[in-house]
Subunit: 199 residues, 2 copies
Amino acid sequence: MSEAPKDIEDLVALMARLPGLGPRSARRAVLKLIKKRALLLIPLADAMQAVAATARECLTCGNIGTTDECDICTSSKRANGELCIVEDVADLWAMERAGIFKGRYHVLGGTLSALDDVGPDELRIPQLTRRVQEEGVTEVILALNATIDGQTTAHYIADQLDPMGLTVTSLAQGVPIGGELDYLDDGTISAALRARKAL
Amino acid sequence: MSEAPKDIEDLVALMARLPGLGPRSARRAVLKLIKKRALLLIPLADAMQAVAATARECLTCGNIGTTDECDICTSSKRANGELCIVEDVADLWAMERAGIFKGRYHVLGGTLSALDDVGPDELRIPQLTRRVQEEGVTEVILALNATIDGQTTAHYIADQLDPMGLTVTSLAQGVPIGGELDYLDDGTISAALRARKAL
Ligand SMILES: [Zn+2]
Ligand SMILES: [Zn+2]
C-alpha cells in the first residue's frame, strides 16, 4: 500500500480487519469514504466515536446496550419466566427481529470448543444457573446454532439445568443442519420457536 | 434494527453503505468493533477523522493525496513523457503495486456510459488534452477495464488524441500470468486468441 499517503494506508489496514472485508474491498471502501466525505466519512467517524463512548455489555445477560443493565433485562414485561440462550449478540438481534419471543436472553459469548480451548468458565455459563434461580425462570430455550459446537454446548447446558426442575427446550424445526441463526429469515426463526421441543 | 440502541443502529446503517458490506455483515462488523473497542473501534474512528482532515484529490491527475498536487505529479522523475489513463484511484494503486510503470497518471473518475448518462464532461477528459500538450506527453497508455464501457471510453479518448500526433497504446489483453484456461471467461480466451503472437 506504499502507493497511498500514510493516513489512508492506516485506514485501509484497519478496515481490512473487519469481517467481510479483505484488502481489496477495504481499499474500495476507503475510496468511497473519501469521495463521500461529508455524507459518509465524517458521519461514520462520528457514529464510531458515539458508540465507543456509550456501548457496553449488559452485566446480566451480555446484550449490548448503553447502560449497565440492558432494556430487555430492566423491562418487567419481559420477565415471563422464559429465558432464551444465544451464542452472541447478533443472534439476539436476529431473535428480536423475528419479534415472536417475549422473554429474556442470556448471551453465552461463544460455544464450548475443545479445539479452541473454550470451557464453561470462558462463556457466560456460571452466571446462567444463578440467573435461573434468582429470576424464577420456568423455561430455558436453547437457541444455539445447529453446528457441532453449538449442539455440544446445548447438551452441556441442558445437563447443568437438569437437576433444577424446569423445562428445557431448543429451537428445532426449521433450523437447517449447519445453519446459523443470523442467516435465517424471520419466518424460519418464528416457525422454529413455535415448534420448539423438550430435550 | 430496533433491537439495538440508536447509536449502534446508526453505525450499522452507515457501515451497510460501504461496498462489500450488506446489513448482515455490517452488524457483524459493528459487534466486532464494540468487542475490540480500544484496539479497533477507537483507532478506526481516529483514522477516519485523520483522512477526512487531510485527503484530497490531486488537481492535476485526480489521484488521492494530502496536497493540491500529488507526489507523482510533483516528482520530476515521473515526467518521462508517458501518461497512463485509469478509470479510478483503485486502478492507479493497482498499477503502482505492480511497480513497473514509471510515468504519470490521469484518473478519469469513471467511464463514459450512455445508460448512466455519463459524458466526457462528467469525467476528467477535457483536462486530458490540455495536460498532453502542456506536459510534453509522448505516449498515452490506456489502462481501462476490459468492459464494454471501459473499451468505449478508450476508443473515444484515442479518437480525441488522434490529431495530436502521439503514440496511444493500451494494456494487452490475454491470459493472466499463472492463469488456467479452464478458469477464464470466454471473452478473455477469445481476446487472447485474437491477440496471439508468433513465438
Ligand atoms: Zn440484559
Ligand atoms: Zn497527481
